[in-house]
Symmetry: C2
C-alpha cells in the first residue's frame, strides 16, 4: 500500500484524501490543517489522522474535541509520498521539508511549473511521470484543456487553439471572494497564462487563451475553438470523445445547458459532493464550421477534475503501474467515475 | 422639429425619450405605458405626455395622480415617427397600427430583421436608411459588433470573426430573471444567432458567434477575435479606434478591468443613468498574435448603446441630414457623448 500524506486538507485536499482512501493500492496516513474548522471535523469523522503545522495550536483543536496526531513534519516522515494541497504560492515553501526527508511530492496547479520542473496530466504524459521525485498536477482549467486538445490533436490534428475561460468567482464555501455583480477580465491582457500552462504538457500546441471571472461558484465554462489539420465531422468528434473516460458528454436529450443543471445532475447520480471529475462537454455545442473549425463548450468543475489526475500521478511516481490506461481504469473504478451519459 | 412618439417607455424607451428631447431637431410628443409603475412617474416628471394601450386602465393611473393624455392610437396619429421600444416579440404586432396611419416606425433589436426588412447601424449604413418608412435598430450586442468589425474591415480588412458574448442575466431593475449561480449556454448550440444578425448589416463578413448568460446585471462582455486580411500593429488598431466616436477606449492607466468598475466610472463622469453609449474597448486587451490575429475584450452596455443609434436612425429616415458623420456629431453633442478617456 502506498502511504499518502495530504498536506492541506481544504477544497482539493479533502477530495484527494477521499479518492486515495478509495484506491486498492493506497492509504491515507495523515492530513493536515493549520487551524480548527468544519473541515477538521470532517477529517476526524473520516478517520484520517490529523496533523498540524504549528504544534502550539494543538490545544485549540483539543478544546473542540479534535484529536491531533502530531506535527506536519512528523506526518511527512511517515509518508511514501506527499500531496501538497496547500493554497497556491504556499506549497513551494514546503519543498524544503520534502527534500529534508527525501519524500516524493506532488503539488497542485496553484504552484507554477518550476516547483517540480514537471507538469502532469494522466492522459497526456503518464509515462513521463514514472519514478519521478516531484510533479505538479496542472490546474483544473489546464487539465480540462489538455484532455480534449491532446485527444483531438492525436487523432485529427490541431493547428491552432483559441480558448476563452469564463471562470467561477469563488468556490461555494469561500464567502469572502467576489465578484457579486461584475464580469472581471482576469487578466485584462490577451493571451492569459493558461495557454503557456497547457504548453507545459503539450509544448507543440499553438494556443491562445483568455479568461474572465463571473459571479458564480459552481464550475468554469470554456469556449473552445480548434482549427483542425484535417477535415472531420461532428459525429467523428463525438465518437472520439466517447472513447475518453474523462471526457463526459452531456447529451442534448438531458436538457442540460448550464453549470447549475449539470451540478444538480452529478448530485442526483450521487457522486460524492456532486463532483464532476470529467470535462462536461455539451454535445449540442460541438460544431465544425468552414470544414476544419471545431467549436465546443465544456464545463470544468474546479474542485474536482484534478483529483483523479492526482491519484494517477501518485501511482505513476511510485512506479508500480506502468500504463496510463491501467492507472486511469483503477482510479476511475475506485472513485466511481462511470460514464455520465 | 421631428415629432417622435416612443411606444413602450421601459429600459430602452425611457432612454430614447431623453435622448430625443436633448436633440435640437426633435421633440417627444408622447410616450406609452401599459400599466402604472415607477417609470410612469418618471415620464410625468419629465413632462412627456403619457398614453396608454388600454384606455380602460386610465383610472388606475389617475388614482395615483398620473395624468393620461390618451390612447396609444391617438399618440401615433400625432407623431411623424414612432420608436417602438415595446418588449421583444410585441413590437411586430404594432406594425398594423403604424401602417394604418402611414407613420414611419423604428423597432429595436428584440424584433427580427423581417419586421422592417432593413436593419440599421449609424456607422455602417446610415445612408441606406434615408427616407425609409421602416427600420430596425439592431440589438446592443449586434450594434457593438458592427461598430468595431466595420471599422477594422474598412481600413485593415477582416477575413473572419469569432466572437463570444458573456451576457448579463438581467437588467438591474428586472428582479424576476436569473440566473443567480450558473453559467447558462444561450444558446448551447454554436453558432448563436448574433453572427447572422451582424450579417443583416454587414452581409460580407464571415462571422461565428457564441453566447452565454452569467449572473450579473451591468453590461455584456465580448471576447472578439478577428483574422485580419493584412498585417497591423496594436498601435494602429488603437489609433483607429480613437477615430470612432462610439468606440470608447478604456485606457490601461484607468485600472478598469471589469464591467462594474466601468459602470462606476460612467456614473462618476455624470453620464445620465451612468450610461455607456460606446463600446467599452479595453486598451490593454488589444493584441495581435501570429501577425494577423487580432484579439480584444469590449464591454457593451445593454441599456444604452442602441439609444444613440436610434436617434441617428430617426434622423436618417426623416431625410434632412444626409450624412452619418453629421448626424452622429449632432446626436453625440446633444446627449453629452464625449470621449470617455
Amino acid at each position: 500500500m502506498i502511504k499518502v500524506a495530504v498536506n492541506g486538507y481544504g477544497t482539493i485536499g479533502k477530495r484527494v484524501a477521499d479518492a486515495v482512501s478509495a484506491q486498492p493500492d493506497m492509504e491515507i496516513i495523515g492530513v493536515s490543517k493549520t487551524r480548527p474548522s468544519a473541515e477538521a471535523f470532517i477529517a476526524q469523522k473520516r478517520g484520517y489522522p490529523l496533523y498540524i503545522t504549528d504544534i502550539a495550536k494543538k490545544k485549540a483543536f483539543e478544546e473542540i474535541d479534535i484529536l491531533i496526531a502530531g506535527s506536519v513534519e512528523e506526518m511527512i516522515q511517515k509518508a511514501d509520498i506527499v500531496v501538497d494541497a496547500t493554497p497556491g504560492g504556499v506549497g513551494i515553501n514546503n519543498k524544503v521539508l520534502y527534500e529534508k526527508y527525501s519524500k516524493k511530492a506532488i503539488w497542485e496547479g496553484g504552484e507554477g511549473h518550476k516547483v517540480a520542473e514537471f507538469s502532469f496530466n494522466a492522459s497526456c504524459n503518464y509515462t513521463e511521470a514514472i519514478g519521478r521525485q516531484y510533479a505538479r498536477v496542472v490546474s483544473c482549467n489546464t487539465t480540462g484543456l489538455c484532455r480534449i486538445i491532446n485527444l483531438i490533436d492525436s487523432v485529427i490534428g490541431v493547428k491552432k487553439v483559441r480558448a476563452t475561460m469564463i471562470r467561477r468567482g469563488s468556490d461555494p464555501g469561500d464567502v469572502k471572494r467576489g465578484p457579486i455583480d461584475a464580469i472581471v477580465l482576469n487578466p485584462v491582457t490577451i493571451p492569459s497564462h493558461h495557454g503557456s500552462d497547457v504548453q507545459s504538457i503539450l509544448p507543440h500546441i499553438n494556443i491562445v487563451t483568455s479568461a474572465m471571472i463571473v459571479p458564480t461558484t459552481l464550475m468554469h465554462m470554456h469556449f473552445l475553438n480548434m482549427e483542425l489539420k484535417n477535415f472531420a465531422t461532428k459525429e467523428q468528434v463525438i465518437e472520439l470523445i466517447k472513447t475518453h473516460s474523462r471526457l463526459g458528454l452531456i447529451e442534448k436529450s438531458s436538457g442540460i445547458t448550464s453549470t447549475s443543471q449539470l451540478k444538480e445532475y452529478t448530485s442526483d447520480i450521487l457522486r460524492p459532493r456532486g463532483d464532476l471529475w470529467e470535462n462536461g462537454i455539451f454535445e449540442d455545442s460541438i460544431s465544425i464550421l468552414d470544414g476544419t473549425d471545431l467549436y465546443l463548450f465544456q464545463a470544468i468543475h474546479q474542485e474536482a477534475d484534478v483529483v483523479v489526475e492526482t491519484i494517477d500521478c501518485i501511482r505513476a511516481m511510485m512506479g508500480d503501474v506502468k500504463s496510463a490506461v491501467e492507472s486511469i481504469a483503477i482510479t476511475n473504478k475506485a472513485v466511481g467515475l462511470t460514464t455520465i451519459h
